[in-house]
Amino acid sequence: MTRLLMAGFLLLGAVAQVRADDASDPYALEAAKARVIRAAVTRVQSRIVTVETIGGAQPIAAGPEGVREEAFRLADGPTTGVIVSADGLILTSSINFARNPTVITVTLDDERRFVATLLGRDEIRRLALLRIEANGLSPAEWAPADEIHVGQYAIACGRGIPGDAPFASLGIVSAIGRRNGNAIQTDTKVSPINYGGPLIDIDGRVMGICVPMAGSGGALAGAEWYDSGIGFAICKEKYEFVSERLAAGEVIEQGKIGVALEEDESLIGDFLEQLLPTKEQAVRIREVMPGTPASAAGLRKGDRILAMDGQPVGDVPEMQRRLSDRAAGETITLTIKRRWRRFEVTLTLARTEDLGTIQAPESRPDEESSDDDDHTDPDAEAGEATSRPADE
């Protein structure tokens, strides 16, 4: 806010200076602002593409009431993608492929059209990576993370509405580091018009890729928040975090441990413990589902989870929030308290569809006691024998 009076604009070398004495004329500033927006969108325009899909079906959500179509109905109109490499990688949002289309095409700004291959999807960050057989493309220029600030202008661009120019919505960066640090929050109108498209700064640099990212659940979760003034865009660092896995064709989805959690509200039996000044925040396992990473690791009902990867978990929502960012296949270490014992277990997160089929490894679960006083494993293991696999 140090430059309240002065606004100088420099775009692509063309100088559109607004002098200090022009600041008293709101129209000079309005005209300059419109020019800046235009220049920013023009600059990114050749780096964004129109994605079209053919075939597929409306995704189905399985909920407590059974299988049903999601409340938000995905349309079959065009969507948006951003060129991220000169040799044909296109970054977009996974929601654009929730129908599992049989054919995907990508049309560049110069109207060349290609058949695209869907490489990988990240259902946590709602990203998808496409490849087209093209070279010499102009990849998007990213805005460095340290140049993205709350309050600065943001423009969400999309190709979801056919037209000579992309659809652009102007707003600001509302927050950074949202959704487990994955997303920039913006008050620009984010909707199926620009899911997969870029959120740019006024230099036309990409700050993030617009995705639906509110709520949790099915493939379309968050889309019902469209145009609400609460939009999300995945920042560069988070794309780079998964870019190799996406390029390798992986489907990254939220990992599960297979337990039901409840708040650790101590019962009478824990009365003494509660008096201790050092009582630790924990969440308690209400139930361990069979055939899950949790059962394979020997976790039991009533165990308290003190920490995940060394960080205290606090309460159930906090635990769930942190788990929501971890993908199937990744390992986490839980610090468990069982009665007076404390130990760590390492488990590999499972895909939802694999729950119920996970079996404990031949060797005993790797449980290490972090206390020196009790190195023997809890009696738990005796009980685990039944859920252990028979010899293969």
């Binding site: 100088g8 709101p26 309005e30 800046v36 049989t102 054919v103 037209g163 652009a168 018009i193 145009d227």
Partner: protein
């Protein structure tokens, strides 16, 4: 990159930019008084002060026992009001609340089923009204303002609300893809201010000077997105309706076409594996047909016909219906991993 910072636009001037209007909520974009006011009246204030004497609130018949409400634009000194066609506006007797709080009863003048507009008149002399400006001057990024009786939050004598956004693009919405009663196939103006809310249709879209560049259209969902969209019908259509020739039910050319059209023939059969949403794969190309001469092959997937995207067999049938013998039609096809375009000389059906 050292250009950061140089680009900061004065935030004080933008205090009304960050509209947080969501579905089910209305943000009133009055300028924030606490922001540093370093300049003369800002452009939103000026647009509002110029336009508000020409925007009226409408009340009347709604669906069932609901009371209808909406917005209208005064377009002449003798009290002509343009609004969208609805139960409320398609008859005499709509209650009009003028910007000064005066209430009058409107007379129905005429309607335009195609543009979905209605013209009303109130008995008034020397009424204030809004100038209809040239919408073609709008460019991407230009500020626009929408005014309206959203959710009828402007009660009693209060004036309507104003929202700010930017103009994006002038485009066509494929009418048959919208809700069934939306027949309009002309240009629409797309912008990012929230107007797809009850009561908003019929209000003006203003340019930076507070002149009317369009009228907020009826609430529709674009089938390209399955979302409600914010759009306006350009002022030229408004002018043509209010001051031009009498209402038409459809553009003239359209009506002609359906009468004298001979059926075009290209000779492509589409695979019939399902119903409406089957992908438009070519199952057979008739020997000697225009399609065969142009090189269409079985198993090609039809992506577009004459720049209209083909998503399913129904789209294809609709596109074929538009072709006339003698047309040169451009088909875009997916063949394996390639995209090819062919020009087909449409013939008369044998």
């Amino acid at each position: 990159m050292k250009r950061v910072g140089r680009f900061r636009i004065c935030l004080a001037l933008a205090s009304v930019m960050a509209t947080l209007s969501g579905r089910g909520a209305v943000a009133d974009d009055q300028p924030v008084r606490s922001a540093p006011r370093v300049v003369a009246p800002n452009s939103t204030e000026r647009a509002f002060s110029r336009a508000w004497p020409g925007v009226v609130k409408l009340y009347g018949r709604g669906i069932g026992r609901e009371h209808g409400y909406g917005t209208g634009i005064l377009v002449s000194a003798d009290g002509l009001i343009v609004t969208v066609l609805s139960l409320l506006s398609a008859r005499d007797g709509a209650r009009v609340v003028l910007p000064d709080g005066q209430t009058l009863t409107a007379r129905f003048v005429r309607k335009d089923e195609y543009r979905q507009l209605a013209l009303l008149q109130i008995d008034i002399e020397d009424s204030s009204y809004i100038e209809l400006a040239d919408s073609s001057k709008l460019a991407l990024g230009d500020a626009v303002f929408a005014m309206g009786n959203w959710f009828k939050v402007a009660e009693g004598r209060e004036p309507v609300s104003i929202n700010r956004g930017i103009f994006s693009v002038r485009t066509k919405l494929d009418a048959r893809r919208l809700t069934q009663d939306f027949a309009y196939e002309g240009d629409v103006l797309m912008f990012d201010a929230m107007t797809s809310n009850p009561g908003a249709p019929g209000g003006p879209l203003l340019d930076i000077d507070g002149n009317c560049v369009g009228i907020i259209g009826r609430i529709v969902e674009a089938s390209a997105t399955n979302t409600r969209i914010n759009y306006a019908i350009p002022s030229e259509e408004l002018r043509a309706f209010a001051f031009g020739a009498q209402a038409t039910s459809a553009p003239a050319g359209e009506a002609e076409a359906t009468v004298e059209k001979k059926e075009g023939y290209v000779g492509i059969s589409i695979s019939r594996l399902g119903f409406r949403h089957v992908a438009p794969y070519v199952s057979r190309v008739r020997a000697g047909s225009p399609a065969e001469k142009a090189g269409v092959l079985a198993d090609d997937l039809i992506l577009a016909v004459d720049d209209v995207t083909i998503r399913n067999a129904k789209d294809y049938r609709d596109a074929i219906r538009r072709l006339k013998p003698g047309d040169k039609s451009r088909f875009v096809l997916k063949r394996g991993a390639r995209i090819v375009a062919v020009n087909i000389d449409v013939e008369e059906k044998p």
